[in-house]
C-alpha cells in the first residue's frame, strides 16, 4: 500500500509541470516558488503537510534554495520520506545553474537526506544506479480525459503544421524545425513566437507562417494551439518531458519528436516509432518527409498510438507506484 504523499513543484519550468501534475494528479499540490522563493513560507507549508499525516514529500526538480530547505525538513522530520524527481539531463549540465543543482541533488542523496531520485530517462538512471545512488526510473506520462478532448482541425486544402517550442533555448532546435514547412506544398506554419527572430526568419526565408503565441504556458493553452494543426513537430535535440508530444497525441494530432525518449521499446512499437521519432533532429529534409508520411497515414498512426498508449499507461502507472512505494 503506498503511503500518502504530496508533490511539490516550482515555477521555473511550467512546461514540465504540465506533465508532472498530470502524473501525480490525485494529490495536493503546493506551489513552491522559484522566482519568489520564500524559505519561511515553504517551510510553513511543509509543516502543514506533515501535520496532516503525510508520510512522504516529492520535489519535482531541485532549484536554487531547495537543497537547504530539504536538509532542514529532514532534520525536523527524520521519519518523513523525501524524494526528488530529477529535472535535468547530462546534456544540459553545461550550464552552471543546471550543473550546480544537479551536484546538490547528488550530495543530498550521498548524505542520506533524500530517500530516492527518480530519473526520467533510462540511460541516465543506469549511470547513477551503477554509481550506487538510490534511484528509480520514472516513466513520464500525460493522460487526457475524454471530456477535455477538443475539436480538432478537419482536413482541408491547407496543411497546417504546428511548431510550439515552450522555451527559446538552444536544445529546442528551433530554426532547423522552422525550415521544414518550406518543403511541404500548400502548408501553413503555426508557431509559438517566443522570440521575434522566429518571425524574422520565416519572413526572410519566405515560409508561409502565422504567429500563434502561447501567452501563458499551461495545459489548456497548449491544447488549444495543437488542435489547430494537421501535425505538430517538436524535434528538440534533448528532452526529458515531452509535453507538446503528449498533448498533441492525446488530442489526436500526430507529433514528430527527436530520438530523445524511451517510449517505444518493444518490437511491436517500432512501426509507430518510425512514424513519430526522427533519428536526425536537425535534418529538415528527412523530417519534412516524415511530416508527409504522417499526414498520409494519420488514421493508422492514431490507431497505433491508442493501442500502444493503453499498455504504456500501465507501465507508467506501475513506475509511479514503484517510486512511491520505495
Amino acid at each position: 500500500m503506498q503511503e500518502e504523499y504530496v508533490l511539490l513543484y516550482g515555477d521555473k519550468k511550467p512546461e514540465d509541470n504540465i506533465c508532472i501534475k498530470n502524473m501525480f494528479s490525485n494529490n495536493q499540490q503546493i506551489n513552491l516558488g522559484w522566482t519568489d522563493f520564500d524559505y519561511n513560507k515553504n517551510m510553513k507549508a511543509i509543516d502543514e503537510i506533515v501535520e496532516k499525516g503525510v508520510k512522504q514529500i516529492i520535489f519535482s526538480g531541485l532549484e536554487i534554495g531547495w537543497d537547504k530547505l530539504i536538509r532542514d525538513v529532514k532534520q525536523k522530520y527524520p521519519e518523513l520520506k523525501i524524494k526528488v524527481i530529477c529535472n535535468t539531463l547530462d546534456s544540459l549540465l553545461y550550464y552552471d545553474y543546471e550543473r550546480q543543482n544537479f551536484f546538490n541533488l547528488l550530495e543530498l542523496s550521498k548524505d542520506n537526506i533524500i530517500d530516492d531520485i527518480a530519473f526520467l530517462r533510462k540511460g541516465q538512471y543506469e549511470v547513477y544506479k551503477t554509481l550506487g545512488y538510490k534511484c528509480s526510473f520514472l516513466r513520464e506520462n500525460y493522460i487526457l480525459e475524454d471530456d477535455k478532448k477538443l475539436k480538432i482541425k478537419e482536413s482541408n486544402d491547407v496543411i497546417d503544421i504546428g511548431i510550439y517550442p515552450l522555451n527559446y533555448t538552444w536544445d529546442k532546435n528551433i530554426f532547423n524545425q522552422l525550415c521544414i514547412p518550406k518543403y511541404i506544398e500548400n502548408s501553413n506554419l503555426n508557431y509559438n513566437e517566443i522570440d521575434e527572430r522566429m518571425t524574422d526568419f520565416v519572413n526572410t526565408m519566405d515560409i508561409k507562417a502565422t504567429s500563434d503565441k502561447i501567452e501563458t504556458i499551461d495545459a489548456k493553452n497548449v491544447q488549444e494551439k495543437v488542435v489547430k494543426n494537421d501535425i505538430n513537430i517538436a524535434t528538440s535535440f534533448t528532452e526529458y518531458f515531452h509535453t507538446v508530444f503528449w498533448i498533441s497525441m492525446e488530442q489526436g494530432i500526430p507529433c514528430i519528436i527527436g530520438n530523445t525518449a524511451d517510449f517505444f521499446e518493444k518490437e511491436e512499437d517500432k512501426e509507430l516509432e518510425q512514424y513519430l521519432v526522427t533519428l536526425a533532429e536537425d535534418n529538415s529534409i528527412i523530417n519534412s518527409k516524415m511530416v508527409k508520411d504522417c499526414i498520409d497515414n494519420k488514421e493508422q498512426i492514431m490507431e497505433l498510438y491508442r493501442n500502444w498508449k493503453k499498455e504504456y499507461n500501465k507501465l507508467a502507472s506501475k513506475s509511479i507506484e514503484k517510486f512511491l512505494e520505495k
Binding site: D90, K182, F201, D206, N259, D282, I285
Partner: protein, 381 residues
C-alpha cells in the same frame, strides 16, 4: 550599467525604432569608452591586422591570373582546416578593419587579374571588401562558403551576418554560395539562392604515425568538446563511465567537467588546455575509439581526422558523412543524449574496429573523388 540596460530592454519593443536608436547610442558610447581606455592595445591590433593584409596581398600576387582564390581566417581552426583540405589557391586573411587595407586588398585582386574570389565564411570587413570588389569590377565572381546551419541563427551575430550576405546576393554583390551540408544546400536552393554543395575533407599523410602503447585499459577520446553545449561533453563522459575498463582522454578539460569525472569516479588522462593539432593527432593514436556525439554539425573535421589516424570515431547523425553505408550503421549515433545507448555503440565499435577501419578506407577513396568533383564544380567560372 547592465542593470540599466536590462531595465530599458524590458520597456522597449525589441527591434522597434526607439530600441534601435538607444542601442546605437549605447554602442557608440561603449565604442568611444573602449577606444579611450584601450588605446595602446587597439594600436597593436590595428598593426597586426594591417600586417596580415600585407601578407595576404603578397600571397595574391603568387596567384596572378588564376581562376580563383579563397580567403580564410587562419585563426578559425575548423574553417581554416576545411579550406586547406579543399582548395589550392588559398589566402590566409584575418579581420580587416582599416578602409585603406580594404582598398589595398581590392586593388591586389584586380591588379592580379583574379577571376573569382571565394570567401570561406565571413570575417569583419569582408562584406565591405566584397562590395568594393564588385563596385570596381563587376565581372569578378564572388562566392561565399557558409559553414553553419540554421541552428546557428539562434545567435544574433550569425543571424545578422546571414541577413547581410543574403542582401548582398540580392544586390548582385555575391554570385553564389557553397554549403557543406546537404540540408543547407537544398534549403537555400529552395529559398532561391544559387548554391553549390561541398564537403570538408582531410589529407593527413604528413602526420607522424606513432606506435600504440599496450594497455589493459580502453582509452576513449573526447576532444574540443568543452566550448559549447552542443558538444555534449557530460553525456559523453557518463557513457564512458559505463564502458568496462575505460579511461577518458579529454582535451581540453575544464574545471567543471573535471569535477564531473570525479563524481563519476571515471579515470582520465586529460589536459586542461588546447594542444596543437599535430600533437593532438599523434595523441589520439593511443585510443581505442573517439566519440563525437554532438547535437548539430555541418561537416565536422575531427571524425575524419580520427579515422585518418587509424582510430574509429562515433559521430552524431547530423552531417553527411557515411550516410546510407555499412560504415554509417556502425559509427553514426542516433540517440546522442543517452549515455547507455552511447556505451553500447562504443562497445560495438571496439568489437568491430578492424572491419570499420577497412570500410572507412574504401569509403575515403570514393569520398576523395567526390570532394574533388564538388570543388571543381564550385570553382568553375
Amino acid at each position: 550599467m547592465q542593470k540599466l540596460k536590462n531595465l530599458v530592454k524590458r520597456f522597449i519593443k525589441k527591434d522597434g525604432f526607439l530600441y534601435r536608436v538607444i542601442r546605437k547610442i549605447y554602442h557608440v558610447l561603449s565604442t568611444i569608452k573602449y577606444k579611450i581606455t584601450n588605446n595602446k592595445k587597439i594600436e597593436e591590433e590595428r598593426k597586426h591586422y594591417s600586417e596580415q593584409v600585407d601578407k595576404a596581398i603578397e600571397k595574391i600576387k603568387q596567384y596572378k591570373d588564376k581562376d580563383y582564390i579563397v580567403f580564410y581566417n587562419p585563426t578559425w581552426l575548423g574553417v581554416a582546416n576545411s579550406t586547406k583540405g579543399l582548395f589550392e589557391n588559398i589566402v590566409p586573411l584575418e579581420h580587416v578593419y582599416n578602409k585603406k587595407d580594404i582598398d589595398k586588398l581590392v586593388n591586389a585582386v584586380i591588379e592580379n587579374n583574379i577571376k573569382s574570389v571565394i570567401f570561406s565564411q565571413i570575417c569583419d570587413g569582408w562584406t565591405e571588401t566584397i562590395k568594393k570588389i564588385k563596385d570596381k569590377n563587376e565581372n569578378i565572381i564572388i562566392k561565399v562558403i557558409w559553414h553553419g546551419n540554421c541552428y546557428e541563427y539562434f545567435s544574433d551575430f550569425t543571424w545578422n551576418l546571414n541577413k547581410e550576405v543574403m542582401n548582398l546576393y540580392k544586390e548582385n554583390k555575391i554570385d553564389s554560395f557553397g554549403f557543406v551540408r546537404s540540408i543547407m544546400y537544398e534549403f537555400y536552393k529552395k529559398v532561391g539562392f544559387k548554391s553549390y554543395y561541398l564537403q570538408n575533407n582531410v589529407h593527413l599523410e604528413n602526420i607522424e604515425r606513432v606506435k600504440k602503447v599496450p594497455s589493459d585499459k580502453r582509452k576513449i577520446g573526447i576532444y574540443n568538446a568543452n566550448t559549447r553545449e552542443l558538444k555534449n561533453i557530460y553525456t559523453s563522459l557518463s557513457a564512458i563511465r559505463l564502458v568496462p575498463d575505460a579511461v577518458a582522454d579529454v582535451v581540453p578539460i575544464n574545471e567543471e567537467a573535471k569535477k564531473f569525472t570525479e563524481m563519476l569516479q571515471l579515470e582520465t588522462t586529460s589536459i586542461d588546455d588546447y594542444i596543437p593539432t599535430e600533437e593532438l593527432l599523434k595523441r589520439i593514436q593511443q585510443n581505442e575509439v573517439n566519440i563525437y556525439p554532438t547535437f548539430t554539425e555541418n561537416a565536422p573535421m575531427f571524425p575524419l581526422e580520427s579515422f585518418e589516424m587509424g582510430v574509429p570515431c562515433l559521430l552524431g547523425n547530423n552531417n553527411d558523412y557515411f550516410v546510407g553505408t555499412k560504415l554509417g550503421e556502425y559509427v553514426i549515433l542516433t540517440k546522442e543524449d543517452d549515455p547507455e545507448y552511447l556505451k553500447d555503440r562504443i562497445v560495438n565499435c571496439i568489437e568491430h574496429k578492424d572491419e570499420i577501419m577497412k570500410l572507412y578506407r574504401e569509403w575515403k577513396k570514393d569520398f576523395d573523388k567526390k570532394c574533388k568533383n564538388w570543388v571543381d564544380e564550385f570553382v568553375k567560372l
